[in-house]
Amino acid sequence: MTNETKPLATAAPKDSEGRPPFDFAKWWDRVGILMVLIALVLLMSLIAPNFNRVDNLLNIARSISVNAILAAGLTFVILTGGIDLSVGSIIAVSGVVAVVLAIAGLPAPLAVLAGIGVGALCGLVNGALTAYLSLAPFIVTLGTMTFLRGLAYTITAGQPIVSSDLNFKGIGIGYLFGVPIPVIVMAIVFLIAWFLLERTRYGRHVYAVGGNAQAARLAGVRVDRVTLSVYVIGGACAGLAGVIFAARVISAQPTAGTGYELDAIAAVVLGGTSLAGGRGRIVGTLIGSVILGVLSTGLILLNVPFFTQLLIKGVVIIFAVAIDGLKTRPLPFLRGARRAG
């Protein structure tokens, strides 16, 4: 029966639209976004004064750590095809709770854990509403985003709580072997996230739920549990980011993290993760965060006005997503064919 085995490589493309000989999608998936980063770094070192000094690079790393940790957690959520808009507000609530407890005398490690725990708890609510009541995550987290921001204002009565001798401020402003601690924390978070997504059964289930939830259920994946868990992970990461943020500004700010959810989503999408779910890499998210950080810092070094920075950032995000969108389509300019209209 050997002649019944159809050669896939020749048979498969015929029935589909066909693929160009140079597989742009695969190439872009692997190295595309990295190329953008390298090009950006080269450009910045050429035109921005002092850009590639070690202290500046460490500075960039520290400045992106909050967004990157947020984006790492959000990658799990987006991989399942969900979204979490409440992570910015979670930053405020967890920071406030950690600071209040620290001032009340809780030891630093416990205050940090409490902040993370509060974030995870918020995620649990998001996840339970999404997974078990089958509500749309966009709406659920839009609601909790508003609620949690309100909660942060309520706890602090709208005023920042400043504590100059905050016991866990090291996690925001400290150094270990010359490296800022937030950068070390960020590295650990990404290592764990990478391990979970790439090496464990759980990771494959996350991709499966995002790829096709119905098929995942019929393949034996407990879709509800996986959905619940990604929001808990997203919330815990936001909680950690909130603690770091509070430590860095040595205070509890009810306005902390406002709009951060959008920067985090931008980093995830920039890194190649599909908002439709099922497709993406945690490494991409890290690169996406770094690109956004390099861009901001570089533009500041170049003395580009803040308003112009926003214009440039917006264009970069759209450009990156546009290239990403081309992957899923055959490339008309390579095939010389017009697209269906």
Partner: protein, 508 residues
């Protein structure tokens, strides 16, 4: 009918990168004829039709209509030339009404420039009347059955005075009554001088409907012949390049102990259903679409909530609350809708095959990747899937190979009970044969196999016993070696006792 064909494709060639998808393909169509286009998946039928519909451009060759060469650069061009295509997947908007869909893109306006709702409805009623349909145009399209939606598409094509109508697997999702209605409509269009290109894998249907058949293989033209001059065996030989023998041939099997025992199973509109499948046995559930076969399978598998009854595997009660539990108890199911329910299309074959066995291939939640990959490769080998396909996205595979990937998942899991819902739908004949052989081999290895099939010769040919379902219950059980299609149809339609007399009852 004149001798000058309505449409002629000459030496049409299409290249995708290094692959020659169409190699000097010929095809001609006369007014008032049904011309079947056949070939295995990947033979180039879809590519040829995409060129005809203007979705892709040919690299070489000519398209001649009414003796004049034409160019089809876009779907709009195709429409302007009177070429309409009814796709397998319908291109309509389910949330809009039938009437709105029919006027889509050319909505009538009132004097004030607003949408003329009354005329939309009136036009739609006229268009539907032209094909003899009494569908209510005010209904949302999505509330209609697939067959009815197809009728709406055809009504649209007819209303635009299509002269060439391409039907791509039109009966794949139709009930028997709907299919009959479609056949009548095809006859009507033929007598009106429309040329119809009919793509189907179903031999009997093609013989019943078509005047001529053209066969493609691996992107090349194989031949054209009048139906009267060819036998189904001839066409199969042309499609696969050699004789197939009897598709369903298998040596007698010996049934062992009861593996799957279902008692009083009931759910929404289903049951109570009792059934047993023994080790080494292939049992087929036959019946019309909507008779409850898929629902029974889903209840056994825990995919839907059951309201009563028991399921036991090897004498041990299984109380599957969800598929996860059913799989742990040794049940595997390949669902009817491969693309929506069975597979992760964007993910690799490896991921798709391994997903249900990861618990066996991981330590403390960490996947033993090398070992899992090796096992996936072994299962792919058993199914004649090329090993270097392991990292391809499943959507890049042909229908037959996708189905093999779906089957490989349960081979890897080594499930005791296999439920296969329409395992050969949309699968070419070569892969069909391989799937039949696999089913036979699984039964011989002591598995209990429960198959759902709407292809009656297949259902009888590959099984040991048949369970005929109607209105959510099993109404008849018979041994496959004595079963006839007529008898099965008689029970499936509830006319048992008098001869049903259907020679093509397969597609119900």
């Amino acid at each position: 009918m004149t001798d000058e064909p309505l449409l002629r494709l000459e030496d049409v060639t299409k290249r995708f990168g290094v692959t020659l998808a169409l190699d000097h393909v010929r095809f001609d169509l006369k007014a008032g004829e049904v011309h079947a286009l056949m070939g295995e998946n990947g033979a180039g039928k879809s590519t040829l039709m995409k060129i005809l519909s203007g979705n892709i451009q040919r690299d070489g060759g000519r398209i001649v209509m009414d003796g004049r060469p034409i160019d089809i650069r876009s779907p709009l061009d195709a429409r302007a030339h009177g070429i309409a295509i009814i796709h397998q997947e319908l291109n309509a908007i389910p949330a809009m009404t039938v009437a709105e869909n029919l006027s889509l893109g050319r909505e009538p306006r009132t004097r004030f420039g607003t949408l003329d709702r009354r005329r939309v409805l009136r036009d739609a009623r006229e268009k539907l009347a032209r094909i003899g349909s009494d569908i209510d145009p005010a209904q949302p399209l999505g509330s209609l059955s697939v067959g009815m939606q197809q009728m709406v598409e055809i009504a649209r094509a007819v209303s635009e005075d299509a002269r060439v109508l391409v039907l791509d697997e039109p009966t794949a999702a139709l009930s028997r009554a709907e299919a009959l209605q479609l056949y009548a409509l095809i006859g009507q269009m033929r007598s009106n001088g429309v040329g119809l290109i009919y793509i189907s894998h179903r031999m009997e249907e093609v013989w019943q409907l078509a005047d001529r058949v053209t066969v493609l293989r691996d992107g090349a033209y194989v031949g054209t012949g009048a139906m009267g001059e060819l036998s189904p065996e001839d066409v199969v030989r042309m499609m696969v390049g050699r004789a197939m023998g009897d598709l369903y041939d298998h040596a007698p099997r010996e049934a062992g102990d009861v593996v799957l025992a279902v008692e009083g199973l009931s759910g929404d509109g289903i049951g109570p259903v009792d059934l047993e499948v023994r080790s080494g046995e292939v049992v087929c559930m036959a019946g019309l679409i909507g008779s409850g076969r898929t629902e029974v399978a889903r209840l056994i598998f825990g995919a839907d909530r059951r309201s009563g009854g028991t399921v036991a595997i090897d004498g041990t009660p299984s109380r599957p609350a969800d598929p996860h539990a059913a799989i742990a108890d040794g049940i595997g199911m390949v669902p009817e809708d491969r693309k929506d329910q069975g597979l992760f299309l964007d993910h690799s074959v490896e991921i798709n095959v391994a997903i249900s066995s990861l618990d066996r291939f991981s330590t403390a939640g960490v996947v033993r990747r090398a070992e899992a990959r090796k096992t996936v490769l072994e299962e792919m080998g058993r199914l004649h899937l090329r090993k270097n396909a392991i990292d391809l996205a499943v959507k890049a595979l042909s229908g037959g190979n996708q189905q093999k990937a779906a089957l490989a998942r349960w081979l890897m899991r080594d499930s005791r009970v296999l439920i296969l819902d329409e395992p050969t739908r949309g699968v070419d004949i070569g892969a069909k044969r391989e799937i039949y052989e696999l089913i036979d081999a699984l039964a011989r290895a002591g598995k209990a196999v429960l198959v759902i099939s709407s292809d009656l010769p297949e259902a009888i040919g590959i099984s040991d016993r048949l369970l005929v379902m109607r209105e959510g219950r099993i109404v008849h059980e018979l041994s496959s070696d004595r079963a006839t299609e007529e008898e099965v149809m008689a029970y499936a339609t509830g006319t048992a006792g008098r001869a049903a007399g259907t020679s093509h009852g397969a597609e119900a």
